[in-house]
Symmetry: C2
Subunit: 314 residues, 2 copies
């Protein structure tokens, strides 16, 4: 495996000249540039990133931490982020490592210098040490850490008004209540404001729960609220669960679903959905973390608009 000194030797120059040539920093004479280019080609030289990493004390690696990669929203997000990172280019920094919520793993990766930056979609408590590297969150509120989110309040309000406009009055809400400060609570805020301002009854189910329990929760919800006219569900899973349970009871309940992530796989029912712009959220997250990595100070939240998409369920 040829190294930079081999190239330098072959081209008859010093290795710093080769380094400059490689990085475009500093000047290299045309003549030398040419010789170096040839040497590189002949030797089939590829820079060894490990050397640069050590020297620069950077791993050229970003980590994405998700609660559950197999969840359609998170896998879409991860996919979009990976794509955005690739497109952002840069000689190196083309690696995205995926992590699940786990005790200590993130901390170790950080302290051992294996990752440069962190994108958090989890709602797991954070160790302080993690905070020492550039970080951005999705939805989650952590001190002054930049947060990318969607217009949860406005989108929810719009959906609820839509249902109201259709004449529904017993309008429900089902969703998981995060254990840590998060922008997604704005969806429930919108619901509460909505029922208050229209003098409607609060028919919401808003609690902490685990992925996988959606079906049971939806069933319990319908049992305790037998006379709903329509529901705003905060995830595709809840929407499907509600749809199914309501169908088994008698009529399919009008439903608006957050996300609408599964349309590529499921054609029916086509839910009326509040579609988060995952691509844009990923791009903004990346843009922010790259800025942070570049030394810029960033803080506060960045809001991405949500798309209301009419389907068949409401």
């Amino acid at each position: 495996m040829a190294s930079i000194v081999d190239v330098a030797k072959k081209a008859g120059v010093g290795k710093s000249t080769v380094s400059r040539y490689l990085n475009g920093s500093g000047y290299v004479s045309k003549a030398n540039a040419e010789k170096i280019g040839e040497a590189i080609k002949e030797l089939n030289y590829e820079p060894n990133s490990l050397g640069r990493m050590l020297k620069l004390n950077k791993s050229y690696t970003l980590a994405l931490c998700v609660p559950m990669l197999s969840h359609p929203f998170f896998s879409k997000f991860a996919e979009a982020l990976e794509k955005a990172l690739y497109e952002a280019g840069g000689e190196d920094l083309s690696k995205l490592v995926i992590l699940s919520e786990r005790e200590g793993q993130l901390e170790q990766l950080v302290s051992r210098k294996q990752i440069d930056g962190l994108i958090i979609v989890t709602h797991k408590p954070l160790e302080e040490s993690t905070l020492s590297i550039p970080m951005v969150t999705i939805d989650r509120v952590v001190g002054k850490v930049p947060c990318i989110t969607s217009d949860n309040y406005e989108a929810s309000a719009k959906a609820l008004e839509y249902l109201y406009g259709k004449g529904y009055r017993r309008i429900g809400f089902i969703g998981g209540c995060p254990k840590v400060p998060s922008e997604v609570t704005r969806r429930h805020d919108a619901y509460l404001d909505f029922v208050a301002s229209h003098s409607l009854e609060d028919l919401s189910w808003y609690q902490d729960f685990m992925h996988g329990e959606e079906c049971r929760r939806a069933d319990e919800y319908l049992s305790s609220h037998p006379d709903l006219d329509a529901v705003l569900a905060t995830s595709d899973s809840f929407a499907f669960a509600l749809y199914r349970c309501s169908l088994l009871r008698d009529k399919p309940l009008p439903i608006i679903a957050y996300d609408g992530c599964m349309d590529d796989w499921i054609q029916t029912p086509r839910f009326t959905s509040l579609v988060q712009d995952i691509d844009q959220m990923a791009s903004k997250a990346l843009e922010t973390i790259l800025a942070l990595l570049g030394g810029e100070k960033r803080t506060g939240k960045s809001v991405v608009p949500t798309l209301f998409r009419k389907g068949d369920t409401a």
Copy 2:
């Protein structure tokens, strides 16, 4: 940030002793071990992986290359692999980077020493240079590269016999035909053998296609085969598409679906499915690549049994 020499100084020993202490290689006296342990604690020392990486010329990073991370099968696989990797432990080597099929990216990562091993689920043509590092494939056949797959032939045969046993005679098959040698072609082999041995008509659709076209393809398939009794679909998406299209035509067609990956999100219909044991495939893939990394020679394929799960669609 404390380095190994700081620890050595504080403990009053040489840095090689600290290194030995850290790696458990070679001997270090009880007395020194204790002093080193204290120094590490006091300094809050964490080894910088970058140094080790350069020295050992290893990145402690594995790459997983998938066609589409948002596809339920692939995201489940990635999740399982990440979990298996974490559980395999090892002081370092806890990183999994996710890559999409893309021109040149893999090659660059390899030549720049940014990944040590590769798990391939894609059907993209491979550059030769990529083959220079340890690699394992899922389903795909590439020379002597170890391949993890499921018992595609037997599982398909069993499903087809099941349909036959139910009295169906006009049994169809729909699936994508990979462009490169792959174990999944065994599913179609099983179908062809099945219709031949039972003197049935070959009613299969088996062509190359793109993700996202399932619905249109299914519709075309039903148009050209209006009198099917039942179908074996090689993916959840095809199954859903068929289900939907057949429903719109008149009767819901009996369907058996490969994968059954979406049961966590969709409760209805519950497809009768051939469920691949993704966790086990991921574990085997990891076990194999770690063995390869450890210098073992491995080759040939490793077959994981598929589960036949009765649902409501057949």
